[in-house]
Amino acid sequence: MTRRWHPARLYTVGGLLLALSILAALSWGSVAISWRAMPALFWQWISGAQLSPPAMVLWEIRLPRILLAGLIGGVLAVVGASLQALLRNALADPYVLGVSSGAALGAVVGGLVGGSLHEASLTLFLWAFAGSLLTLVVLYRISSVHGLLPVQTLLLAGVVINAIFSALVLFAVAMVEPSRLFGLLSWLMGSIGSADYRIVGLLFVYSLIGLLLLFGKAEQLNLLTLGDESAKSLGVEPERLKRFVFIVTALLTGAVVSLSGMIGFIGMMVPHALRLLIGPDHRFLLPAAAVVGAAFLILADLMARSLLAPTELPVGVITALLGGPFFLFLLWQRRQGAIVSE
């Protein structure tokens, strides 16, 4: 008998988790700011008074960064869950499949062609989008066998695509002058550096639209997990739905990667854990993934900037160190379960 949480309970717990992670990330760091001091500092900010140094740290540095991390985490988790439904494979993740490195390659090429990687720019994002969409299409063409995407083929294709694109990225990086190298490398590893409210605001509106588009397809995604023929006989055009989801997820991945580089494994870990709690119904899974993914990346980013403080780790290092072993565990568990698909 499958025992599951009621979605209402999950949203409550998820919301609390998100709120707590925001508070924790506000309070901890090179300058510790107690929760008790926050209301006064908040008032200072709201009232438009001259900001004291702690208020400056809190509202001009930490908060925008936290919000950016939250948005990126939420987007990556939902993109992961959607790709998993689309590819009928619980191990799909934009990072593992090479979609993120496709976007990164696009962004690097874009950065070489014109503009710089340090500023969020529309050209950069468009290049990243092109890179991720191209990767998704290639991946799908290569590994689909009669409409099914066998786990092994899919993962292998992802690994190889990753390797090719990483090589190309390094090739491009070699052409960059040394002074810009460190920034570029830490971006590649996935990092949420400084953020300003303009970018946060833009990304918020952009991802909200993208996420709502995906949420609206949740029920059709449920049907698609039964295979193309079942989906079609229940009134869903599988090819049209796939195209739609490919494009929306590529747009979201492109934006996220052009801002923060390659942050891996969130898209696989968060939906997986949530499926155990509330089941695979995407009408609940997708919104829940947005909330929990946000909390997850905020906490990971907090770890990234406080573990070796004052040195900052790229947050991609943290998510890979958590997610990699988790991924291996899932593979091992599958073998244990001995439910060999086909």
Binding site: T2, A85, A90, L226, G227, E229, S233, S341
Partner: protein, 290 residues
Amino acid sequence: MNEMTGNSRPGYRLDGVGFRYPGGAGWAVHDVALTIEPGEVVAIIGPNGSGKSTFLKLLAGLLVPQEGLVHLDGQPLERYGVNALARRLAVVPQSVQFVFPFTVREIVAMGRTPHRAAHRVERLDGWKHWLGGLSLPVGRAGMGSQTDRKAVQAALAEMELEPIAERSVLELSGGERQKVLLARALAQQPAILLLDEPTAALDWHHQSLVYRRVRALNQERGVTVVLVSHDLNLAALFARRLVLLDRGRIRRVGSPDEVLTQAELDALYARAVIVDRHPSADAPRVTLRP
């Protein structure tokens, strides 16, 4: 020849239908002409590889013929939108490879999707649902309207699935999965039911259950049933008309007595079977020659 004009009850007409798989050696189905009346029970039989499943997929609109047309109610099948088609006909595939742990109830409830999409009001209900999860007391199991939930409950009961309704489909046996797919088709409340080897994984009790259930649907609600099976006895009991396929072509159409003759089966199955009479039904019986 019955023309479907002015008749809203479903009926099929196939003219010279042919289909070949891309990259396939030859025609999987070729030059098939057939009419299926509304309310009929037809069984498609034939040896392995004779094109039975392909034929069923052509009827379901899952495959589009390269030759000829499949008409439903006087309209070519391609003219229907997928959703309109899904409200008229339900397909029970041989098997589905489940990848996520949906519960039995959730899978059966998916049969309601085409109906829900048709009603905007109920669509709103779905939106409220994923936003809140709070708004409906039934929680995650509650999918859509009262009508939907009733249909799902009835389908679960009819296929004796209530005891395992909250189990994950990944934990089920092959036979149980087949019952779940049937229940999903029942929840779909179609006018036409297309079954691909519906009893292949079932024990005697459940074969009989499916048999009684489908017969009741046909007699009480006038549902048209097209069944693909290589179980000749089942086909003979189920259907009043058999369509015998051989290498993609129709070899014979007629009542069980007309089609399941010793001569015909000797030619098809290399003298492997004996035809005699069923002890209690007025139908032929086919058994393996010892």
